[in-house]
Symmetry: C2
Subunit: 203 residues, 2 copies
């Protein structure tokens, strides 16, 4: 499988065109029955491959699951990047990033399926063990801020802790959806982000 840290893996180029039959099959199985009830046998059958072929790529079920989740995070960031990378103004980029993230997380079928289907299995990975994924998301946003700073569009400060404020807001909104921050109406979400999130980097 992959070598190096999760951060390294996440920073690699996005998945090869055409995707990966094993990961697609594993994803479908997880969505249908959850992680615990997904077996290597199921994955091989759904992928239309022999079990030996799957075992040659991944030592066990947990390794396949880890690869699926890794690909999800990479795909999510790639999707987000397509929505916000072209925006030159740091304030506007922050606003559109917030709208995209709340929309994207709310509509993320696999994530929400895991949280309702088997929270006990999913929660450790989304809390105590989520440090590396949060760090990747923070690095992604910090890189955007760094680029604005280099171009003179944003004052200089360490962009990592500021980016972490945004990541942690999304993290908490994912784990505990109830709240009063607007997330179902894009116009209201934008007004909220402009008033209270943009100042985190411009204030």
């Amino acid at each position: 499988m992959t070598s190096g840290t999760l951060e390294d893996a996440l920073r690699r180029p996005f998945a090869e065109p055409g995707g990966d039959r094993v990961l697609d099959a594993a994803r479908a199985a997880i969505e249908e029955v959850g992680i615990r009830r997904t077996t290597m046998h199921d994955i091989a059958r759904r992928a239309g491959l022999g079990r030996a072929t799957v075992y040659r790529r991944y030592p066990d079920r947990d390794a396949v699951v880890a690869a699926v989740l890794l690909r999800e995070v990479r795909d999510f960031l790639a999707w987000l990047d397509g929505r916000i990378d072209h925006i030159e103004d740091p304030a506007e980029q922050t606003v559109e990033c917030f709208v995209a993230v709340v929309t994207g997380l709310r509509g993320h079928f696999l994530l929400n399926r895991l949280l309702t289907l088997e929270p006990a299995a999913a929660l450790p990975g989304l809390t105590a063990d989520a440090g590396p994924v949060l760090a990747v998301a923070r690095g992604y946003l910090a890189e955007k801020l760094r680029r604005h700073q280099a171009a003179g569009r944003l004052r200089r400060f360490d962009p990592e802790p500021a980016a972490e404020v945004f990541v942690r807001l999304a993290h908490s909104m994912l784990l505990t959806p109830s709240g009063c921050i607007p997330e179902n109406d894009d116009a209201q979400s934008r007004a909220f982000a402009r008033a209270h999130l943009v100042p985190v980097i411009t204030g």
Copy 2:
């Protein structure tokens, strides 16, 4: 036991002087062996009371646990209030509130004990079911902002979503401690809060 919602219960005056023997006993048991292995028998024995006496107040173990956790939240907010209520400047109050909360959560023995001792039992209450507690914390902070607005020390805006940004930051930092937001050095925490959190309400 208590009637009404969790929010109502949390907004009642803080615990009566002298505390409550049953809740003290239950808290000690939970800290030692966790929630699942704490029984009504243990609680009665530790409290020096008959089991019938405990059952007269609480129908079952889960009701005692809920009352313990409720008291913890109330005590935490009372402790926080003692540290920040006297501060008149909204920016300074935000800074000191951040320092107090990161210090208080890091040092919260019961909370950290539950997260390490039995995360599977503790996590749902801290994620999917944490909405009411987050709402109480948000209401507490929003009330402070409202008071500043009424006194003309802060511009007018809906204080609830802004307060929620702070609550969710603390929520995520509690659940996934690893990060780069300064929390072990008060001077650095203050500088961070001044640069990136105060603007959430003043920017």
